[in-house]
Symmetry: C2
Subunit: 300 residues, 2 copies
Amino acid sequence: MMILGVDGGGTSCRAALATAQSQIIGRAKAGSANIRTDLNGACESIMVAVGQAFAAAGQDPAHIPDTPVVLGLAGANIGTYAAELRARLPFRRCLIESDVLIALEGAIGAGDGAIGILGTGSHYLARQSGEIRRLGGWGFLLGDQGSGARIGRDLLEEALLAHDGIAPHTSLLDAVLAAHGNDPQAIVEFTKSAQPRDFGTFAPMVFDYLERGDPAADKIVERAVSAVEASLDALALANATPRCLLGGLATLVGPRLPPKHRERLVPPLQDALGGAVSMAARLFGLERSLSDGKQGLMQP
Amino acid sequence: MMILGVDGGGTSCRAALATAQSQIIGRAKAGSANIRTDLNGACESIMVAVGQAFAAAGQDPAHIPDTPVVLGLAGANIGTYAAELRARLPFRRCLIESDVLIALEGAIGAGDGAIGILGTGSHYLARQSGEIRRLGGWGFLLGDQGSGARIGRDLLEEALLAHDGIAPHTSLLDAVLAAHGNDPQAIVEFTKSAQPRDFGTFAPMVFDYLERGDPAADKIVERAVSAVEASLDALALANATPRCLLGGLATLVGPRLPPKHRERLVPPLQDALGGAVSMAARLFGLERSLSDGKQGLMQP
C-alpha cells in the first residue's frame, strides 16, 4: 500500500508518494494551487503533481484513485473551498487540511506542540491534547506583527517620522530615505502598488542594521519579537510543550525570545510536505486500528 | 477692485468674490478640483465656481480675467500640477497654493502660527518669521498617526488581538467584533476595499467609548494624542506662537493635549476659503505697497 501527501499554495503545489511507513519514493512539483481564487486551476495542479510523483516513483497511475491522500492547502480552513475541491478530485480516501496544519504535523509530529510561521505574514498553530488552536495571519495592515511585511511597514513609518523630525535619525532610517531620493512622497508612492512581500524585502536590512547597533532597528525588531512572544503566550502552552519557528524570520527572532519560549524551541522534524505524508500514514496507513470516530475524518 | 479666493479639493471647489477689504460679496460651490488626477476637470470646476460667484454677486463675468485670485488646491505643492493648471486658467494675476496653506492663513491670519488638521488624515503646517514648515499627511498606512483613519485602523488591529486572546477584551472591542459577526475574516475583508474615510468612520465610536472609560479606547486615543503632541513639538514653535486644530477630531484631541500646547490653542479666525480671500487681499489688494520680492510671488 502507498500513500500520498500534497502541499499546495499560491506559489506552487508539491506532491510526494510514499510507502505506508512514510518513506518517500517519488516527488513532484507543479504550478499554484490557490483553491480560493482558482479552484479548477488548483485541481489541475494537484493532479499534475500527483501524476508526476507516481511517474517519478515508477508506479502505475491507475492506482491513483485508490491511494489515500492528505492535502494541505492554503485557504482550506475557510468557507466551502475544501468541500468543493474534494468533490472534483478522484481520490476515494482524501483528507483536505489547511497548509498550516500539515506544517505543524511536519515540524513537531503527531503530538502536542506549536509552530509560529514568521515569513511575509505571521501566524501560529498549536495542538494540545488533540485540540487545535490557530491565531494571527490577518495580514500586515491590521496584524502579522511578527512578520517581514510588518517589519518593513514599521521601517517606512519610522523613516517618515525621522524625515519630519519627529523620530531621531539613525543610519538605517537615513539609508531608507536615501534609497527613495530623500523624498517622502516616493515612499508613499511605493506603498500604493507594493504587495506584502515587497514590504517584507526590507526585513533583512533591519536585522543587518540591528547587528550594527542601530537604535531604530532595535526598536522595530524589539516590537516584532514582543509580538511573537505575546502570540506564543496566548497559545497557553503547557510549559514542556515544544514550539518551533518556521519561515524566513525564524532564526532571527528565535534567539531573541525570552527564555520561557527560547528554551522550548525545537528544530522542525520535517517540512510541510513531509507532514502531509506522515499524517496520511498515521490516518490511512494504520486505518485498521483507528477508532470509528477517527475514521469519520476521512470523508470517503 | 475685487479679489477672488478659491478652495478646491477632491470633494468640491468653492469660490468667493470679495472687495479689496476682504468683504465677501458672492459665493459659489462646484464639483471636485483634483489637479493630480483630473486637471481638465479641476480647471472646469474652478471656472464654474468662479463664474457662479460673480453671478451671485451680480458682477459682470467679463471682469474675471482681471480679478486677482488666490487658489488653494489639494496637491498644489507636489510636482508641476500647479504650473500646468496656471497655464490653462484665464487669470492675469494668480497665485496657486496648497489647500493647507490657505487653511493656515484662514485659521491664524498672516502672522506666525501653526495648524494641525486632524481629519481622515493628519498633517501640520507652521509659519514662523515668514518661513513655512509642513509635516505629516503621508497616509494612514505609514503615518497620519493623529487621524481618524489611523484611529480606525488601530481599533481594528486591537479587536483582532482581542479575538486572538493577545489583548484583553473590552466593551469597545467586543462591539467591533460583534459588528463583524465575531468573524475576524469579515474585518480583513472589510479592509480590502475600505478607503481611509471608511476607517475613519470608527473614530467617533472610539471617543464615545472613551467617555465610558473603555481601556482600549483610552489606549488608542492616548496613542493618537501623543502623536499630535510629538508633531506639534517637531514644529519647534516659539512658546507664544498660536496653534489651531482643525478637522473632525480637533475638539476631541485639543483638550487632551498637554498644557504646553493646550494653553496656546486658538479657535480658527475663518475657514480656508476665507484664508484664500484674505491672502488675495494681502497680496493683490495692497500690491502698490508690496516690495518687488513679494510681487515675484504673483506669477502674472
